[in-house]
């Protein structure tokens, strides 16, 4: 199927129906392997058993930023190419992104209390991720406030692209400012600084969470297309009555 065909919502729905069972199976397998590796992973010499919190905190943090990046590409699709599925992709990704950003903040605070002695500190990394979470909530509120989908799409796309400025701030906050949060230890130029016994389960769990996002996102996009179809049919019904 040529890529351009996916611009047709009906063809996109057919594709989702075909790939979703495979994605669900891949997600379940990745989680089974990831959780088994996480359980078997040794305690860290400094963090002790609390290093196991990293196996949910780091994937959630990755997804919080990754999903906003996906929404930013979709926002360009809405504003520049006017792709019919771009707004659907952005709108349905936002609640999932908000959920994972919340998980990142919650798991981080559960790690912070025993390791730092506090649930929260206003350092640049934590604050910029909190800003990301609030921006997700703002976008969801915007989509729910404006009834006309095309007007909501343009406003949300502009807000999404403005919000994308926060992504490099999140990434480099630990380099630009003196933060309590540790510097980058996985995605860095010199390679990961984590021992393979911890790094392997971390990467497998990150893959599992990413597959979960893709699965949920495609399913939510299908729901949104059906919702818009229902809305159109109801408008036609109202005009015909």
């Amino acid at each position: 199927m040529p890529l351009i065909d996916l611009a047709n919502p009906s063809r996109f729905l057919a594709l989702v129906g075909r790939v979703l069972p495979w994605l669900i199976a891949a997600t379940v397998i990745a989680f089974v392997v990831g959780i088994a590796l996480a359980v078997a992973a040794p305690d860290d010499y400094q963090q002790g058993a609390t290093v196991k919190i990293m196996f949910v905190h780091v994937p959630a943090a990755w997804l919080g930023s990754f999903i906003w990046a996906v929404m930013s590409i979709a926002a360009l699709g809405t504003l520049v190419w006017r792709h019919p599925l771009a707004d659907v992709a952005a709108k349905t990704a936002a609640p999932i992104g908000a959920a994972f950003t919340f998980l990142c903040l919650f798991a981080g605070s559960m790690w912070g209390r025993p390791m730092w002695g506090t649930y929260w500190v206003w350092d640049a990394r934590l604050t910029s991720v909190l800003v990301l979470f609030l921006m997700y909530l703002g976008l969801i509120a915007l989509w729910n406030t404006v009834e006309d989908p095309s007007r909501a799409a343009r406003a949300a796309a502009i807000l999404t692209l403005i919000g994308a400025l926060n992504l490099p701030i999140i990434k480099f906050s630990v380099d630009w400012w003196n933060t309590l949060h540790q510097p980058a230890s996985v995605m860095r130029l010199g390679g990961p600084t984590i021992h393979p016994a911890i790094l392997t389960p971390l990467l497998v769990m990150t893959l599992a969470f990413t597959l979960l996002f893709v699965t949920l996102h495609l399913a939510a996009m299908r729901n949104e297309i059906l919702r818009r179809r229902v809305r159109t049919l109801r408008l036609l019904e109202a005009h015909g009555a």
């Binding site: 009906s10 729905l13 057919a14 989702v16 129906g17 075909r18 979703l20 069972p21 305690d43 002790g48 058993a49 609390t50 196991k52 919190i53 949910v56 905190h57 959630a60 609640p95 999932i96 959920a99 919340f102 998980l103 919650f106 798991a107 559960m110 790690w111 209390r113 025993p114 979960l212 949920l216 399913a219 939510a220 299908r222 729901n223 297309i225 059906l226 919702r227 179809r229 229902v230 049919l233 109801r234 036609l236 019904e237 015909g240």
Partner: protein, 59 residues
């Protein structure tokens, strides 16, 4: 078996993660059923699309 130090924080992090993931899955499934129900109602009233009206219902 002895629980590791700070077990409550580890359990809380995983418990909330599981709850959030279950909530996301339930939201997607419930929304799918609601949209299918609405489409079926519209089709029953003669307003459904004849072509592709049941697309996405196989997964």
């Amino acid at each position: 078996m002895q629980l590791p130090a700070h077990a409550a924080f580890i359990i809380a992090a995983y418990l909330v993660t599981v709850l959030v993931v279950i909530a996301l899955i339930a939201w997607v499934l419930a929304d799918y059923r609601a949209q299918q129900r609405d489409l079926a109602d519209l089709e029953a009233r003669g307003h459904g699309r004849k072509s592709g009206s049941n697309l996405g219902s196989k997964a």
